[in-house]
């Protein structure tokens, strides 16, 4: 692979790649606002200027400038090299690029930083971006000057509502046009644009339109500053209190990679942020998916239930023993879930093998909206995982038929989100015994004799298989809420209650048996996992 030099470091590049892209892929950050690896090049922020040394047989392009000299108290003519935006210049073999090591580049960065902050309100204390803001980071790295302008800054609209999800603050905006380019190029809905010029410039929504659709929250995440804020996350938490865990979106079968930001002190998930994955979601996520973080708390089963009454897990297991102890084991049906991790499903399949049952079913939510960008019509995070755990599993409708015909009277179910939701309860009442291990309330938990509280994807590491067949591991973020326990431990306890010896006890055993590589958890402070 050809290479070029950046501050003396050899950086490999694909022919045609720009300097900043090659450096980014190599893990070196050239300061930038408007450049984004997933968007077109605008080259309007001028933050990524670098000095490119002339080739051996060429002269450098020099500019005549006037520089203030405090000693003679006047401007002095000077010559400076012409700097070039690294986001726009393609790298060539042997190119000598100077960034941090060039005095002119350092000067230019400081100048750009001062220019961008000229009319900035510096309202960091009430800005949601504070702590993960490029303006703050680069001021610290490349600015560190005192404000010189003594005039009142230009005032522009604040807290302008762009749509149902996004609020815009024109004073904080650096006019990088990332949000505009995102709506244009990725969401294919060019609803944002700019108006005015110079320091009156601002982002506007097309007349008669709102910023709406399925990819509006992404504009907040591409915004390098606090100009666009999401209504959902607005004022909810300060980012320096958050920690991030690698997670996978639970919204659909695409399985977008995400950071699950949570507050350890209150054990609360606060938001999803897209996590780069070239093969799955690139840099993007959809609105519906990004809001699924709330399912870590909403509609959850936190306590064990016996005949609708709250009880302890131990007592619920005793009740299970009474319900299923005298029943021939092979007549008990097992119901997998397309919303639980592969490990949990695999544990239930194992339990089914121990029971010797042939009746294996699965539940999943109904199909929904789909588009060509990210959103998959299958609204379950692990449908492919169920098919992997048990290829012969039959859908929920067949379970309903089997109950109707009376061939199945006893069932152990994982999860239980069904296509029609509450409306699916009808036939389930015919079951003599239904034991449900679930993280979320559903028709099955409503109809169940015994409910055991399982942890959700946010409280337990698990593997989810997306529609393309990628096995993706989520890290544990929260501590288990209520008396919930990982579903595979509950299944192991259930097996013991039925007088069977489970073949798994730890997640590690499960993973090695199910042929999944063990992934080390990686919880990190949010500020170090910034988006580009």
């Amino acid at each position: 692979m050809p290479t070029f030099k950046l501050d003396g470091k050899e950086i490999p590049f694909q022919p045609g790649e720009t300097i900043i892209t090659a450096a980014y892929k190599h893990g070196t950050d050239i300061p930038h606002y408007c450049w984004h690896p997933g968007l077109s090049i605008a080259a309007n922020c001028r933050m990524c200027l670098v000095e490119i040394m002339p080739a051996a047989n060429q002269r450098a392009v020099m500019l005549d400038v006037l520089e203030w000299d405090a000693e003679i108290n006047d401007y002095k003519p000077q010559r400076k090299p012409k700097l070039q935006p690294s986001c726009q210049i393609a790298a060539t073999e042997g190119m000598d690029v100077r960034g941090d090591t060039s005095e002119h580049v350092r000067d230019a960065r400081k100048g750009v930083q001062e220019f961008l902050l000229l009319n900035h309100p510096v309202d960091c204390p009430i800005c949601d971006q504070a702590g993960e803001c490029k303006l703050q980071d680069y001021w610290l790295e490349h600015g560190q000057y005192q404000k010189r302008m003594r005039d009142e800054p230009i005032h522009k609209p604040k807290a302008e509502v762009f749509g149902p999800t996004i609020v815009y603050d024109a004073e904080r905006c650096v006019m990088c046009t990332r949000c505009i380019r995102f709506m244009d190029e990725v969401a294919h809905d060019p609803v944002l644009d700019m108006r005015e010029r110079g320091n009156l410039k601002e982002v506007i929504v097309a007349q008669g339109r709102q910023l709406e659709g399925h990819y509006t929250l992404m504009t907040e995440h591409v915004c390098p500053v606090g100009a666009l804020t999401s209504k959902d996350f607005r004022f909810k938490a300060r980012v320096w209190f958050l920690r991030a865990a690698k997670s996978v979106c639970q919204g659909c079968a695409t399985g977008c990679n995400a950071w699950l930001d949570f507050e350890p002190r209150s054990n609360k998930a606060q938001r999803y942020r897209p996590r780069d994955n070239e093969q799955v979601n690139k840099y993007w996520m959809c609105d519906e998916g990004m809001l699924t973080y709330a399912q870590a708390h909403e509609g959850r089963v936190f306590e064990a239930k016996n005949k609708g009454k709250q009880t302890t897990v131990a007592k619920a297991l005793d009740a299970t023993k009474k319900l299923l102890g005298s029943v021939p084991h092979e007549s008990i049906a097992i119901v997998l879930s397309a919303q639980h991790s592969l490990e949990d499903n695999w544990a239930l399949v194992e339990l089914g093998k121990l029971l010797g049952t042939k009746s294996v079913f699965y539940t999943k939510a109904a199909d929904g909206y789909e588009d060509k960008i990210l959103i998959h019509k299958d609204k379950n995070s692990n449908s492919a995982g169920v098919a992997l755990a048990s290829p012969e599993a039959k859908p929920f409708s067949e379970l309903q038929n089997a109950i109707e015909s009376g061939s199945i009277k006893h069932a152990i179910s994982l999860g239980g989100i069904t296509p029609k939701g509450e409306a699916d309860q009808g036939v389930l009442a015919k079951l003599e015994a239904l034991v449900v291990i679930a993280a979320h309330e559903s028709a099955l938990t409503q109809a169940a004799k015994v409910v055991l509280p399982a942890t959700s994807w946010a409280e337990q590491s698990g593997t989810f298989v997306n529609a393309k067949g990628h096995k993706q591991v989520t890290d544990r973020a929260l501590n288990p809420q209520g008396s919930s326990e990982p579903a595979h431990t509950l299944l192991a306890q259930l097996a013991r209650a039925l007088g069977l010896e489970p073949s798994w006890s730890k997640l590690k055993d499960l993973r090695s048996k199910a042929g999944l590589a063990d992934a080390a958890p990686s919880i990190v402070p949010t500020t170090s996992t910034q988006a580009v």
Partner: protein, 217 residues
């Protein structure tokens, strides 16, 4: 339970042996000691009496009745606290009586005792105070956890929290009473009896405020 560290045998510290000597009869009878003690007391008595008669020393009987008392009958009477005494927190108010606080959580971040809890919110659409953008829906300080370091006051960018009440947390009879909420701290006044501070603010709507409307441009 096993010990964390193996127990060492006792070692002499600064090993010089203590010498015990037999007390003499005079010592054991206590009489010379009593006599010398009485002599000291009486010398003080005569000294004091002489000074009192000469008028060099105040009469201990009539002294409390006179002005210039030296004993402070706390809590009815209090010594003046120093100028920068850090008392219980108060939340300063804007001109319209709403809190100056913008719920930025800087105080909560700076707090080494983690005793400040704030929930931020927005005034609803149509509220006159909508332009304040952010305000504390809930602002709670646990005065038992607080170590009165004053970092919250230093950190506040809005001069919204101050410790200039000149009062310290009163002794209550339950822990819950030490949890001060927003309304309580808003009701506290500074030592000169004010809800506001000397630092001015430009509120949206003031003539001094630059205004933030799109129509202006």
């Amino acid at each position: 339970m096993g010990r964390a560290f193996a127990k060492k045998p006792a070692q002499p510290v600064n090993a010089s042996p203590v010498v015990y000597t037999e007390d003499s009869f005079a010592t054991r009878s206590y009489l010379p000691a009593i006599a010398s003690g009485l002599a000291t007391s009486m010398s003080h008595f005569f000294e004091n009496a002489r000074e009192l008669i000469k008028g060099n020393r105040p009469d201990p009987i009539t002294e409390p009745l006179e002005d210039g008392i030296t004993t402070v009958s706390y809590p009815e009477q209090k010594r003046p606290y120093p100028e920068r005494f850090r008392g219980v927190h108060r939340l300063t108010q804007r001109e319209d009586g709403s809190p100056r606080c913008v719920a930025c959580l800087c105080c909560s971040t700076a707090c080494p005792a983690q005793c400040i809890l704030i929930d931020a919110g927005e005034y609803p659409e149509g509220d006159k105070r909508r332009g304040y953008e952010r305000f504390p829906v809930r602002f709670v300080i646990d005065e038992l956890r607080c170590i009165f370091c004053g970092y919250c006051v230093e950190a506040c960018p809005c001069d919204a929290i101050r410790m200039d009440t000149g009062a310290h947390a009163a002794p209550y009879d339950s822990r819950e009473q030490f949890i001060y909420d927003k309304e309580m701290m808003l009701s506290f006044v500074s030592r000169d009896g004010k809800h506001v501070t000397e630092n001015p603010r430009h509120e949206p709507g003031d003539t001094s405020h630059p205004g933030l409307s799109r129509d202006k441009h």
